[in-house]
Symmetry: D2
Subunit: 430 residues, 4 copies
């Protein structure tokens, strides 16, 4: 035991009336919702990077956090892991997620970085075994180091493509070794700063080739987890190729990978792309590529990705409603890709930010489940389209339809969309 979280108890469910900051008011892991324990619906994961590797900087200021494990030795990395698993256990989250760069020191070259990754992977495997905490997904950080400044797979320099491919392989290996249930690709630098120096055709082909290699490696290794792409429209680049769910879908179709790859949808990225979170989730479901979620929150008044812990339960209810309509998570889960505000310096802040987020998720899930169980919303939706249940129109052609419109003198009469009534209905479950 480190003493970083000294004095902070394991968080237990105490119910909505509890005044204890260090307790769940809504998240009751074993409470059954729609026939399944809440924990199996939510499949919470904590993120290694924001919680343990991020120093608190922003574009106008440097490090605010002072953590005993900040440094670049293997001993630092192991202390970081110790503290991380202590947090996972305090919170009772069943999963965590990592990038290679979060958990191992950067080496002097590829081989040394890979060696460090191997060693830390074994260390984490032990921690997993001891704690029972599992890996939701692993991923490669192909955006922080200056070598990736012009992209990873989409770099104008083939050497960077090679370095990226090799890195992905090691991260997939680590994910497999740790029993990860998914492997994620977030193309933070796969985009451009200016069209003037960009060959979009080449870069697109490179990205497609890399994704194919990842899928091939999955099959070669027998990895059973899902390959996930996390869309984001921009930031860090001016324009990212994985803009949103619809864009990723077109990309997958283009390379014939729509059956192989799913999406990890993040609320903040949906917002930056001009969508609601529930839109992206519903679209992913309809396109058959829904995989997992990053449940953080964006500030609606900011134009950048704030990665805040979520707290607006009505919004979260709408998100989980779409998750439930998609049949719930299979390999996916609820990852907190969320960071403390840089002024939240204390160990308590790290724990309580997660507690608040988990509780808000639980409250949202319960409301969503009640909505679905009641069935009023779905009944209203089905009723609205019921005219189509018996219609033959989609099998006809324009000329036939025109004749019918003339002969029957069809004059459609609009019917109320009842938006406000449905919004009232949603509020009833909250």
């Amino acid at each position: 035991m480190t003493d970083f979280f000294k004095g902070i108890p394991a968080i237990k469910f105490e119910g909505a009336q509890s005044d204890n900051e260090f307790a769940f008011r809504h998240y009751n892991p074993d409470e059954v919702v729609l026939g399944k324990p809440m924990k199996d619906h939510l499949r919470f994961a904590a993120a290694y990077w924001h919680s343990f590797a991020w120093p608190g900087g922003d574009p106008f200021g440097g490090q605010t956090f002072q953590r005993p494990w900040f440094g670049d030795t293997m001993a630092d990395a192991k202390l970081k892991a110790d503290v991380a698993f202590e947090m996972f256990q305090i919170l009772g989250v069943p999963y965590y997620c990592f990038h290679d760069a979060d958990m191992r020191p950067e080496g002097a070259n590829f081989a040394e970085s890979a060696r460090n990754l191997d060693e830390m992977t074994e260390y984490l495997a032990e921690k997993q075994a001891e704690s029972g905490v599992k890996l939701l997904w692993g991923t490669a950080n192909l955006f922080s180091h200056r070598r990736f400044m012009s992209g990873a797979a989409t770099n104008p320099d083939p050497d960077v493509f090679a370095y990226s491919a090799a890195t992905i392989k090691t991260c997939m290996d680590a994910t497999i070794r740790l029993g990860g249930e998914n492997y994620v690709l977030w193309g933070g630098r796969e985009g451009y700063e200016t069209l003037l120096n960009t060959d979009m055709g080449r870069e697109r082909a490179q990205a497609g080739a890399m994704l194919q290699m990842v899928v091939d490696y999955k099959h070669k290794t027998g990895f059973k987890g899902a390959i996930l792409i996390e869309p984001k429209p921009q930031e860090p680049t001016k324009h990212q190729y994985d803009y949103d769910v619809a864009t990723v879908y077109g990309f997958l179709k283009d390379f014939g990978l729509e059956g192989e790859v799913q999406v990890n949808v993040e609320q903040g990225h949906a917002i930056l792309a001009g969508h609601s979170f529930e839109h992206e989730l519903a679209l992913a479901r309809e396109l058959g590529i829904f995989g997992s979620i990053d449940m953080n929150r964006n500030d609606y008044q900011s134009g950048w990705d704030t990665d805040q812990f979520p707290n607006n339960v009505p919004e979260m209810a709408l998100a989980y409603y779409e998750v439930l309509r998609a049949g719930g998570f299979k390999t996916g889960g609820t990852n907190f890709d969320a960071k403390l505000r840089r002024q939240s310096l204390d160990p308590e802040d790290l724990i309580l930010a997660h507690v608040g987020g988990m509780d808000a998720c639980a409250a949202g899930l319960k409301a969503a489940a009640a909505m679905l169980e009641d069935g009023k919303l779905e009944a209203a939706r089905n009723e609205r389209y019921s005219g189509w249940d018996t219609s033959d129109l989609l099998g006809l052609d324009l000329s036939t339809i025109e004749t019918r419109v003339r002969e029957l003198d069809i004059q459609p009469e609009p019917r109320s969309g009842k938006q406000e009534r449905l919004e009232n209905l949603v509020n009833k479950y909250l």
Copy 2:
């Protein structure tokens, strides 16, 4: 001759030094640029709707324009057509574009609206014959009438789908009769106001079926023009299905129509979707679906579609650069989907707004052509990616690449992206 534009002369090219408001300073239709007269590069079209049908209203105020043809008789419609063709000839634009609702009075039912459309189509055919002005594209207005309030193809009511299909047929017929070179679909109401009452799966399937019917009708009639979708992310609806070029591409792929349908890209819609105009053009080119452009301008400080006449030549140069890189327009052209500000009441305003827009396009085109001819920009781009010209990487797999990275100890060294130098270079042509 009506007297609406009385006293306004036909606009002629007088050169950059001219002080005459009623002259082109850059647009010299027969001047050869990159081996082709400027007019054949630009293929200008004026829009019937904004110039002649829009009354000047906005969400907080009603009609400001007082036009002698405002009314709903066939005589009004013919006077409108007379004035419209006078404007086309004053400007010397070779093309125009229309919706059915712009040029015929709404009838009491479908049959009467169709009859009105037929009669006006014949009237316009005569005007085309007299003037030599041609039709760039026709389209159906499936968004203004209250029957379309919940969508056209994507309406929950099959009767609206039927009415829409029948209307599209009549508009395609009119387009064919008038020798139109394209047929455009803009799905202003194909989206949703709230997910709560929306069945996105059904609506998507309906939209796909309608598009297939349009393509089938094209083939059945032997229409040689292109079918174009005009993407827009939102407005009027909260969320539109044809969000942007990438989204339309995924939709086309899903329904196997990517070889049949292209895009009509509008600057203002690109902006609303979080892209630059040149991004959307470049992407359409790379995806093989570039068709035509709506060359208007959006206010960067507004969150809605302002449809202003374009005037920023550096931005337009970047747009035409992508058009030229796509091989220029085939069936497409430069449509001004632009409206006067509602305070610009005078007939002169209508003429001069187009003159300014055409001149800015011409200046942009000339700069783009010079950039392309010089070849420095393309040389820099090609040089940046030249490492790929001899690379075998895209044919390998992750394991092979990893071995190579280890064996060669690949340590990629970043090279300058030279963005500012390239921006300076662009400014040299302006």
Copy 3:
């Protein structure tokens, strides 16, 4: 009794468990909160314009609503008033708000419009007397008619200034006659479309002069209500002078009117200006110009003013918290400047949209009151600044302070801002 709302009962409180759409689940008018009946905290008002005068149009489509009172006769206006008061009584709102243009037909000239206003004012006075419903505020519509297209007070044409001033006088007279508790100015066209034709100095001076005239007339007539400005950054104009609370404050200071005029803050306008609603409310309070609120909601994914009925209780709790910290409403209240979605065609929609909004306000108010009563949030805030309670720093000068920093070797140690913990705390009350 008209039959517009036939069959719709007066809405009563039934409690959170009620399944009755036509009942309040949270708004219990006489329930005492912080020592005052809920109705006296909230002071609800319905808006004449959106509910009864708006035809359902948007920039891409016309009228969707079909109301028996649509027309321009005095009989229509009276029927509209009858229905409006029926709605006020069904809802049990104690107040309503109007523009002149909402309730009287436009006349052929100023005198006739004024006569129509007079006649309708008497009619409304009778309805108020019969029903007990009161007027929260009146205002002049100086933006819809084409005469105002270039502004009202800020018009380049003095005749429009004159017409506007005369109109304001008649609207203030009507407000006084009807016992209104405030008079509001929303300068929808007081701004510009392009700086190129705008003399901002002159327009600012004109606006200041008009506001002074309004204040003078208030004093001359002995009107005891508050004069309120409603800030909005843009839409309809590209740029509006009353951008936000801070801008209005600077304007008031410039003309020495900060003691005479307060603000009516609208949620949607706060969002459009890049602020949160609670920011604008808190700022107005700190500047001493808080007056009243327009409690509607903006869509975060839209760039225009959607004026939706509010429904996100957590957001509303934060807003009412600032209202309560300001001491609550004096003359102000909670006006629903909200319109039905244009697809919500039915009379039931109009009633239930308000019911949902009122209920969400009540839930928000109760949460805000609980937060304030508990005192934990304020205690944490005060504790954070407690170092200042005994500090003499603000009375010193730079040199003295520098000496002290050197002598005491002051090295400030940052303390956690505890944002997530406070967010968790807020969620406890919801």
Copy 4:
């Protein structure tokens, strides 16, 4: 001479036809425009921070630049100064600007930081004397160090206020010693992350007190330069108190400092606040607080401050037009608060980015001057308002005006605002 810029010549004017990247095509320092050499209109300054202190990081990646002076010794700081003055001389910029943190190493405590600042100030004084380059403005960096994470003047901890005040004093002293022509305050952390922990009233009072101290110290020391506030709406904080020009004006009025303090307006900050750059400049002029400009550019598709080198000449012409209408710069100038894209690694990039920016400014200035000289734009503006030249309306009251409207039966007739014609006119000068 260092060898950082080895081989790069001093940049000379060669005219618009020059193909030499390392030459000005528009900026001809001694060319007379409106009776004054161009260099005295533009008063160019380079920024120490972005060019020499910024390592190339962004929120998702670290340092990309590798500069020989990166380090924290006095020797590093002096090498940095040597290179900086070499750049100033290569470019021929007459001015530069700095923060304390750009040019001196952070010390172990206040006294050591101040000593470092003193030593570097003397070093810079020598460099100024040798080179003839002057200081446009100095400023204190009160946002990068973690001690300022919760604000400087507006910090909840009085110790931070004290540390900030002492730091400002030393920076003002350095500015005075170096003959600076202005002193700037940019309150990057003067705002809040969450209202929940913020006492806006206290923070506002603290900010006012600090500004008063700065003004007092200016008078005490006899400093003749201007005190400037640089508005910015957000970033780094969620909400900054110096939101925009109008907000700063209200703040100055509140503390009676509107005669003492002016604004330094940055294009990118104007954009982030929802304004055009020219709006902010025109407003500052009308309010009498125009001081200086930061001439960088924001990406319209990004929601954060990109601080790019400017290159859109039409936009810059509109900006300089407002500067010229304000009478030009007095103590102010054109500062490039612009940074290289983080992929622009080479010394040449740094030089050429400035060359392009200076050239674009010069082209914009010349166009603006031509517009002003021609007088057509101002003539059109004056004509539009000419009705006011003889109007007595602003001296009347509402009742008198109403009587006049009735008696004269005033029916204002709208006149065209001619926006497109004016936009065409502007394009003529470009």
